[in-house]
């Protein structure tokens, strides 16, 4: 074969985490739609949405129920058809802030909003694609939930020569992207065609870690079959955490470093998650806005698996579908064990950013003194000195943190993972970042 698979690449940084993805061979199942959906109005990085419906309104599946005038936002659509029966407030586990949520009671019919007239997809212009992506409420589904239409619109004069499709999924336990690649490979590649039209890159890389050899083979086959191989290359990567981090991926694949405080587009690169381009396919080819996603439910649940879940479905229903949690579970994580956040109750709904629900038993870990072993330095993909941040924060010296480039930390947790003294380094770093942000706000 002409060889669209490149040589395997790796990075000297990061950590090797023992393989722990038991759900990799579980096909995606569709979860029954919720009887009552709780849809938070803030599901993206940026500005929350304003509700477009009021109590008593009837809504159809896929109908826009929340939007914002602000640029850094993404509209929210009704995940089910039914009636708006009220509003509530939730504490977002990732943000810790109160957010408004719309309660929709299902009518059980799942009536879709009339799809728009079939479009001539080949004739869509760049701006039309971006507008459709915005309307469909698509955000980065890798976890950051950054509105995709912004990523698709780099400022004038910024040439994007490299488009990287991120199928690394380097977090332990999560297998949703893995399954999407195996089951919806064509949709990914058609969605990629849309991104390609927007960016007109010279090179496209599909990055997949080598613990997903079946996905690497499958994507290669599809690229060849669909005759797309002209400038698409598949890059197998050594399974190492956090390989899927945007900045790490760009460095490993292109050798370029995103400047501190800059964006990937500053070095002519864009990284999109494979589940995001699949959502772009759904929006533009099928006219379906973003109202569901694949979630890996794993850890100490009776039947772990990969589920396609409508947004607004309470975690309780997802977990009950999987047979419930085991007795010794005392912590529920949204996301993987490295970057996931604890969720204190099961009433919280699945939102755009939830790629994994992990039930686990946690035992309190005692923080010991730093013994300066330097393992956090070896682990840090950003070449920072993580242990110094801990020292500075203990002295309340946030200026020193800033000087030591704390803003460059991607909070991947590789440092804390490798710390023999079990220091929650990322927590200290978040404290410092919070303090620095407060200081900045006060100055204004």
């Amino acid at each position: 074969m002409a060889g669209i698979i490149l040589k395997k690449r790796s990075t000297p940084h990061g950590v090797k985490i023992p393989e722990s993805k038991p759900t990799g061979n579980k096909p995606i199942e569709t979860l029954p739609f919720p009887k009552k959906a709780i849809v938070p109005l803030h599901q993206n990085l940026g500005v929350p949405c304003e509700p477009l419906v009021k109590k008593g309104d009837s809504v159809k599946t896929g109908e826009k129920i929340g939007d914002s005038e602000s640029y850094v936002s993404a509209p929210i659509h009704s995940p089910i058809s039914g009636e708006v029966t009220g509003f509530t407030k939730l504490i977002g586990p990732t943000t810790g802030r109160l957010t408004d949520a719309i309660i929709i009671t299902a009518d059980g019919r799942n009536t879709w909003e009339e799809p728009e007239a079939a479009k001539d997809i080949a004739a869509l212009s760049r701006d039309e694609i971006i507008a459709l992506v915005r309307e469909a409420g698509i955000v980065g589904l890798g976890g950051a939930t950054f509105p995709s239409h912004i990523k698709l619109s780099p400022p004038e004069g910024k040439k994007i020569d490299t488009l990287i499709l991120n199928g690394c999924e380097c977090e332990p336990f999560i297998t949703s992207d893995h399954r999407i690649m195996l089951e919806y490979g064509e949709k990914i590649l058609l969605g990629l065609g849309l991104s390609k039209k927007v960016f007109k890159p010279d090179r496209i890389y599909i990055a997949i870690e080598d613990n997903k050899q079946d996905a690497i083979d499958h994507m290669e086959e599809l690229v060849m079959e669909m005759g797309l191989d002209r400038n698409i290359r598949i890059v197998p990567l050594k399974s190492k955490y956090p390989m899927g981090g945007e900045k790490i991926l760009i460095k490993v694949i292109t050798g370029r470093e995103v400047p501190s405080g800059g964006l990937p587009l500053d070095v002519g690169a864009v990284v999109q998650s494979i589940s995001t381009v699949k959502a772009m396919y759904d929006a533009i080819f099928d006219g379906k806005p973003l109202i569901e996603r694949v979630v890996t439910v794993t850890g100490l649940v009776e039947r772990p698996g990969n589920l396609c879940v409508r947004f607004g479905t309470p975690l309780r229903e997802v977990i009950d579908y999987c047979g419930g949690i085991k007795k010794n579970v005392n912590e529920i994580l949204l996301g993987g064990p490295m970057m996931g956040t604890s969720c204190f109750d099961l009433d919280f709904p699945v939102t755009k950013g939830v790629n994994c629900i992990l039930a686990k038993e946690s035992t309190p870990v005692k923080e010991e003194n730093c013994i300066r072993c330097g393992r956090c330095l070896d682990a840090c993909s950003m070449d920072l000195i993580p242990t110094n941040f801990v020292k500075y924060v203990k002295n309340h010296d946030y200026a020193a943190c800033k000087k030591a480039s704390i803003a460059d930390c991607i909070e991947c947790g590789a440092c804390a993972y490798s710390c023999p003294a079990h220091i929650p380094i990322v927590e200290y770093i978040k404290i410092a970042k919070g303090e620095l942000a407060n200081k900045k706000r006060i100055k204004k």
Binding site: S260, S342, S362, D383, G413, Y417, P424, K430
Partner: protein
């Protein structure tokens, strides 16, 4: 239905490598068993007594200071490492109570007074040894030939002493230095066993190559340039023990790999300079202590360049 239950909220990450401070310490203790074994084989019951007293005193001293300061004592194995390493640097004929004083000084003053594990400036074991050398210079420079389990000790010069005379050929000298059949401190005589212990630590990932290689390399190179027998300089005295077990102490050596190379080279140069031009036959202890003092400075100036920050030249 899943029962009503509130769940724990804890900071991430929620996964740790299967490694802890105490595990590291006990692995070091395990690696130290090679030189400890050599010490007992060559110097008999008294070696065992010194090492036991030193280790026990170190643990007790840590416990006592922690109690006095209302701190929490955890048996993390670090006191055992300190006590053992200090004992290995002592002459075989030293009275046991001197070892106890040294170990108490090492833990109580050199470590706990500075804030405990992770906060000390100087390697506690070496600080304890230096304290003993200052207090009891006679006992600390009396050397005997290995007497195994007999009681007749024959005083003799160590291979680094000016008065050291070797009658046989060079090859047999190197062989005896490797195996440890020469005079010297309890744990420093057998270079081979130290090397095995050191390689064990390297393979387990407890230490990395930077300090041992740069330390031994710099010492060998400088001795060669000064017209010394480089192999003798490397194998004799405490260099191997220092390079693998003392200079590699995390707390008192630089945190970056580049810094560690600077540290190792500095310690190597100082060791040879003290041996050749100083007033003492051996220089490992003070060379490492001197570099310990320089460690904060090395860490201040040698830092990795953060990803995405401008290279110096571009500024």
């Amino acid at each position: 239905m899943t029962q009503e239950k509130k769940f724990l909220v804890s900071p991430g990450p929620h996964l740790w490598r299967n490694l802890s401070t105490s595990k590291i310490m006990y692995l070091v203790v395990a690696a130290l068993m090679f030189p400890v074994g050599a010490a007992i084989y060559y110097f008999g019951y008294h070696a065992l007594l010194i090492m036991a007293v030193s280790t026990a005193t170190a643990v007790l001293a840590e416990y006592g200071v922690k109690k006095l300061r209302h701190g929490e004592f955890t048996m993390d194995g670090s006191a055992i490492v300190t006590g053992l390493i200090m004992a290995l640097t002592l002459p075989p004929t030293i009275p046991w109570w001197m070892a106890a004083i040294g170990a108490a000084f090492a833990m109580a003053i050199a470590r706990e007074a500075f804030g405990g594990l992770g906060h000390n400036i100087f390697n506690p074991a070496l600080a304890g040894r230096a304290f003993l050398a200052a207090c009891f210079s006679g006992e600390m420079s009396t050397w005997v030939l290995p007497m195994h389990f007999s009681v007749d000790a024959v005083t003799a010069a160590t291979p680094l002493n000016e008065s050291f005379v070797w009658h046989a050929d060079k090859i047999s000298l190197y062989k005896d230095l490797l195996l440890g059949n020469v005079g010297g401190s309890l744990g420093e005589t057998s270079a081979l066993l130290i090397l095995i212990g050191g390689i064990m630590l390297l393979v387990l990932g407890i230490i990395n190559w930077t300090i041992p290689v740069s330390y031994i390399g710099a010492a060998a190179l400088l001795s060669f340039c000064l017209g010394q027998d480089a192999l003798l300089q490397v194998l004799a005295g405490g260099l191997m023990l220092g390079a693998f077990f003392m200079a590699t102490d995390y707390v008192t050596s630089p945190i970056t790999n580049k810094g560690r190379i600077v540290f190792g080279v500095g310690a190597g140069i100082l060791t040879v300079l003290i041996r050749c031009f100083g007033g003492m036959p051996e220089g490992v202890c003070f060379a490492i202590l001197f570099m310990n003092a320089l460690t904060p400075l090395i860490d201040r100036y040698i830092k990795p360049r953060p990803y995405g920050s401008q290279r110096k030249a571009a500024q």
